[in-house]
Symmetry: C2
C-alpha cells in the first residue's frame, strides 16, 4: 500500500512552518482534531511504553494563565488548539506491569507468555545502563510524539507551532500535574496561520543537503 | 490546502509497526528514499538549529559490523535502508553564527538584521537555564526528526523500525564520528516487512484514550 505520493508529502512538509501568528477566529473541525489526537495515541515509543499524557487545554482562562508562563507568546491563546506534552518523571516496575497487562488484554494472550519481554523491560528499569535517566528517556519519547503530531498536522493541512519556551513547573501547577509522576515537557499549538504572519511567506531555512546527509 | 484525508493518515499510522523481520530482497525505490531523506532535512528543530546529521549506511560490510553493536538485531542488515541519527554533543556560538549566516543567505537579508534573534540564541547557549544540557537538548531534536521520519514513511507505505538498542560509542567509531562534535543517538531501519514477521499481524497495543488524553 502506498497511501500518498512523495510529492504530496514533501509539499506538505515544505508548507509547514512554526506559526508565530494564528488566525484566532478559525477552529479546527472536530473530526480533524480527533485524527490529530489519534496520531498522538498511535505514536511509537520505546518498548511501546507510552510514557506520556497529552493534555488538551480548552478553557480560555487557563490558556490565558499558561500564556503568562510562556514568554507571553500569543499562540498559546490564539491557536485553535493547545496540547501539552507531559512525560513520566520516573519509570518503575509498576509501569512495566501495566504495559504487560495491556498487551495481554489487547492481544488475548496469557500474561505468563510475556515473561521474557517483561524481564527485558524490567532489566531496563531496575538495572539501567550507566548514565541512564528515565526522565530524559521519557522526554525523548515526547519529542518523537511531537514529530509525529507535526507531520500529521502538515498532511492534514493544519498549521502548528512546537513551543519549548515555557516554564514547566508553572504548567505542572496549573494543569494539576505536580506529584502525579508526569511533568510538562513541551507544547504544541495548532490551528490556522494568520495572513499577518510574515514568516509564512519567508523561504524555509535549512542547511545544504550535503552538510546534513552523509553516505557510508 | 488539505493534502490527505484524516482516514488516510490514521490508516497509515495503524498500518505502521516496529518491524522485526524485513524482506531482505526488497529495496525502497530511489525516488521514495529521496523523499524520506527530504523529510529529515525538513524536520523542525529548536530555533531551526538542526543540531544533527543523518548517516545513510549503504556498505554491507559496515552494516554487518554495526549489527554486532546492535544486540545482533537482523534489521540492521536486512532492511533496505539504515539511517543513523547523529546529534551535536555541544552547542556553541559558532553553531549559532552558522545558522544566522544561513538565514541571511537563504532569505537574502543582511546579517545585521538578525542581531536580535542571534542575541536570543546566544543567550540560550552562553547563559543556559539551570540544568540545561546541550547534548540532551540535541538528543530530543533527533527524536523529533525520528517522529517525522516514521510518520513520513508510513504515509508512503514504507515500513520502518526505530532502534535504540545500539552501542553509540561503537557506532561513532565505525562511522568516523568520534571527535567531530556529533554522536550517534538512535537508528532507523526502513524497507518492507517480511511475511514471516508475526508481529505484523498482532493487534496494536495502546493504553485507552482516556488514560492518555486529558482535557482541561
Amino acid at each position: 500500500m502506498k497511501p500518498i505520493l512523495e510529492s504530496t508529502l514533501i509539499d506538505a512538509l515544505n508548507w509547514r512552518y512554526a506559526v508565530k501568528v494564528f488566525d484566532a477566529s478559525r477552529k479546527i473541525p472536530d473530526a480533524t482534531w480527533r485524527a490529530l489526537e489519534d496520531s498522538l495515541l498511535l505514536s511509537p515509543s520505546s518498548f511501546g511504553l507510552q510514557p506520556w499524557k497529552f493534555i488538551v487545554v480548552k478553557d480560555p482562562a487557563l490558556r490565558a494563565k499558561l500564556r503568562e508562563h510562556s514568554w507571553n507568546q500569543p499562540q498559546i491563546v490564539d491557536a485553535s488548539h493547545l496540547v501539552v506534552f507531559a512525560r513520566r518523571t520516573t519509570q518503575t516496575s509498576a509501569d512495566i506491569q501495566r504495559h504487560i497487562d495491556r498487551i495481554a488484554q489487547v492481544r488475548g494472550v496469557p500474561v505468563s507468555s510475556l515473561d521474557a519481554y517483561k524481564g527485558m523491560m524490567l532489566g531496563f528499569v531496575e538495572k539501567p545502563s550507566p548514565g541512564f535517566d528515565a526522565g530524559v528517556w521519557a522526554s525523548r519519547q515526547a519529542y518523537l510524539a511531537m514529530g509525529v503530531f507535526l507531520t500529521a498536522a502538515a498532511t492534514l493541512g493544519i498549521d502548528a507551532c512546537p513551543m519549548e519556551g515555557i516554564i514547566a513547573p508553572k504548567y505542572d501547577e496549573l494543569l494539576g500535574l505536580s506529584g502525579t509522576g508526569y511533568t510538562t515537557q513541551v507544547v504544541a499549538t495548532a490551528g490556522y496561520r494568520s495572513e499577518k504572519d510574515d514568516l509564512a511567506r519567508a523561504p524555509k531555512v535549512r542547511f545544504d543537503r550535503s552538510e546534513i546527509i552523509q553516505y557510508r
